[in-house]
């Protein structure tokens, strides 16, 4: 038997209520949470993935998994950070999947044919520093990048990032420290800092 459930539009309510409703199968609540946080989750995911084209699939998976992982939500007022963390963790898992092969080929092609040297328009407009940071961020290891994105770009605390990535908070701090060092070193070598 194929069955669809009612689409019930949730009344405006707190995130904790909405997450509970999602766990109970309320699609309206799922839509409401999507409207509130999909953009944030997308941004975090696309920053943590080198292929922004994959972000859509990861954001889709993040919201599709909500009903089954809703129980792990700690009930705080906003679930933005929680969702961003889940998205980034799923993004890491996604990267380890079959897509890695394709990206390896892309990377190989990139190295053989050389980098473009950055966006000329951006350089011309005086944003060379940002272009260098973008490049350096893309060259970071996925683990360091995930931590940097969550903590420095999305504003999660070390503890929240640790919970999202399911690693100890001390490991988050270590990776963050290393990520910042790597980025600062890359900027220094690029002559922009």
């Amino acid at each position: 038997m194929t069955e669809r459930h009612p689409v019930i539009h949730a009344q405006p309510s707190g995130d904790a209520d909405l997450v509970r409703c999602v766990a109970a199968g309320d699609l309206g609540a799922l839509g409401e949470l999507y409207d509130r946080y999909a953009r944030d989750v997308w941004r975090a995911v696309s920053r943590s993935l080198p292929e922004s084209a994959d972000a859509e699939d990861v954001v889709h998976t993040t919201f599709m998994k909500l009903p089954e992982i809703a129980a792990s939500y700690d009930g705080r007022a906003s679930c933005r950070n929680w969702l961003c963390g889940i998205g980034v963790r799923l993004g890491l898992r996604h990267r380890r999947g079959a897509g890695r092969f394709r990206r390896m080929l892309d990377t190989f092609a990139h190295e053989v044919f050389g980098r473009s040297g950055g966006d000329p328009e951006r350089k011309a407009s005086g944003h060379e520093e940002l272009a260098a940071l973008e490049d350096a961020l893309e060259r970071l290891s996925e683990k360091k990048r995930a931590v940097f994105v969550l903590v420095e770009l999305e504003g999660l605390s070390a503890e929240e990032a640790a919970g999202a990535l399911q690693i100890p908070a001390a490991t988050v701090r270590t990776r963050l420290f290393a990520a910042r060092r790597a980025l600062q070193e890359a900027l220094r070598k690029g002559g922009v800092r």
Partner: protein
């Protein structure tokens, strides 16, 4: 990095976030005054943070987010997890596995011809007795539903019977032609609608059917206390809601929508109030569309088309509903709304744009005949027409 690093560099983050206790914080404060390395690192971290805040925003546009929203809600409603995405990611490995399995089966077949014969017979018989496939798929369902905001409905299919149960609110249903003994029913609080393949609107308020409009095809409307009514294309059944004090008495069945345009009369105060209310609702819907709240806007426009059918405002609202759905990324729903607009307002100023919306959805699902047919009056070279036809465009460039 050269030379020895300060052991207290690790405390910088905790200090900045106020996570050191009072006493350790004071200690680190004192340390900062004498440790150049920690001070420099703090400054560099802050510079990096400041630079990172200027990174380009990679969030997508409203259209992409709207399209994904529709995909998420559709898959959630159908109970699909991330199989589609997983399927795409694993397509290549699965293809290899499938090839391997096929090769094994071929070998097994060659080695055991008798057993293979039995398998082949069983496989041939399977479709006749098999139930619906274990995983629900959108393509299993004969009906496509576009629901207004707040509608309470469900859809279920068992064997060759599909039912939509509408408890409250308005839905538009497109049902593909029924094959053989297939049946399609819309269960209403006070009756049911049987469909053979059509597109129609139905709305329910306070447990009673208020409005049924058939855009194409034929439906049988069976309400509990009335005889069966057969509604054909462009016919409507309407009972005005009792909650609207200015509403006229219940109207007759089988009335074409366009005939519902009221004759010009001197406006009574009550009518002016209603007009103001509708005008306000229309302005609000336009504002929602302008702000990118496309789903809400579409629902609001839909409500306006139901509230004052046949009026110039309903004509605009009907087209804008399709536009809002298109902007929300709901291509098929936009096409249904556009088709409804074309059927209800054949002389619409927006008929070309509406036809483009219909053609775009048709070409995307590979229905080139429909795409070409709906754009037949406008086979010009405009980018809109060419874009809508897409790969269905068989004209030389």
């Amino acid at each position: 990095m050269t030379g020895r690093s300060c052991d207290r560099l690790w405390e910088i983050d905790l200090y900045r976030q106020g996570q050191l206790g009072a006493k350790p914080a004071r200690s680190f404060d004192r340390h900062l005054r004498i440790c150049t390395e920690c001070r420099t690192q703090m400054d560099r971290d802050e510079q990096l943070r400041s630079l990172a805040r200027g990174l380009s925003d990679r969030s997508p546009g409203d259209f992409v987010l709207g399209r994904l929203r529709a995909r998420v809600l559709r898959d959630a409603a159908l109970g699909v997890t991330d199989r589609a995405a997983a399927g795409r990611r694993w397509a290549l490995p699965l293809a290899f596995v499938a090839l391997g399995v096929s090769a094994s089966l071929v070998v097994a077949f060659l080695q055991a011809p008798r057993a293979a014969g039995v398998t082949k017979k069983a496989a041939t018989a399977a479709p006749a007795t098999s139930e619906a496939p274990p995983g629900p798929k959108a393509e299993d369902l004969a009906g496509t539903v576009v629901a207004s905001s707040g509608a309470r409905w469900s859809q279920a299919r068992e064997a060759r019977m599909e039912r939509i149960t509408l408890e409250d609110g308005a839905i538009r249903v497109h049902v593909r032609p029924q094959i053989g003994d297939e049946r399609f029913l819309v269960i209403l609080p006070d009756g049911e609608i049987e469909v053979r393949g059509t597109t129609f609107d139905v709305s329910v308020e306070h447990g009673a059917t208020r409005h049924v409009y058939v855009a194409e095809g034929v439906v049988d409307l069976r309400l509990h206390d009335r005889a069966t009514r057969r509604l054909s294309a462009d016919e409507a059944y309407d009972v005005d809601a009792p909650i609207r004090p200015t509403a006229p008495a219940p109207r007759e069945v089988g009335r074409p929508l366009r005939a519902a345009t009221p004759a010009p009369t001197a406006a009574t105060p009550a009518a002016v109030d209603v007009g103001d209310r509708e005008a306000t609702a229309y302005a609000a819907a336009v504002e929602m569309l302008r702000q990118g709240n496309c789903d809400q806007s579409a629902a609001a426009f839909h409500a306006i088309t139901l509230a004052e059918p046949g009026t110039p405002r309903a004509e605009d609202a009907s087209f804008l509903e399709a536009v809002a759905l298109a902007r929300a990324g709901r291509v098929d729903a936009a096409a249904l709304a556009a088709e409804h607009h074309l059927a209800s307002f054949p002389d619409s100023f927006r008929r070309k744009e509406a036809a483009i919306l219909v053609a775009r959805a048709a070409s995307q699902r590979g229905d080139c005949d429909k795409a070409r047919a709906v754009l037949a009056p406008w086979r010009d070279d405009s980018p809109g027409v060419r874009g809508a036809l897409g790969s269905c465009d068989d004209r030389p460039r």
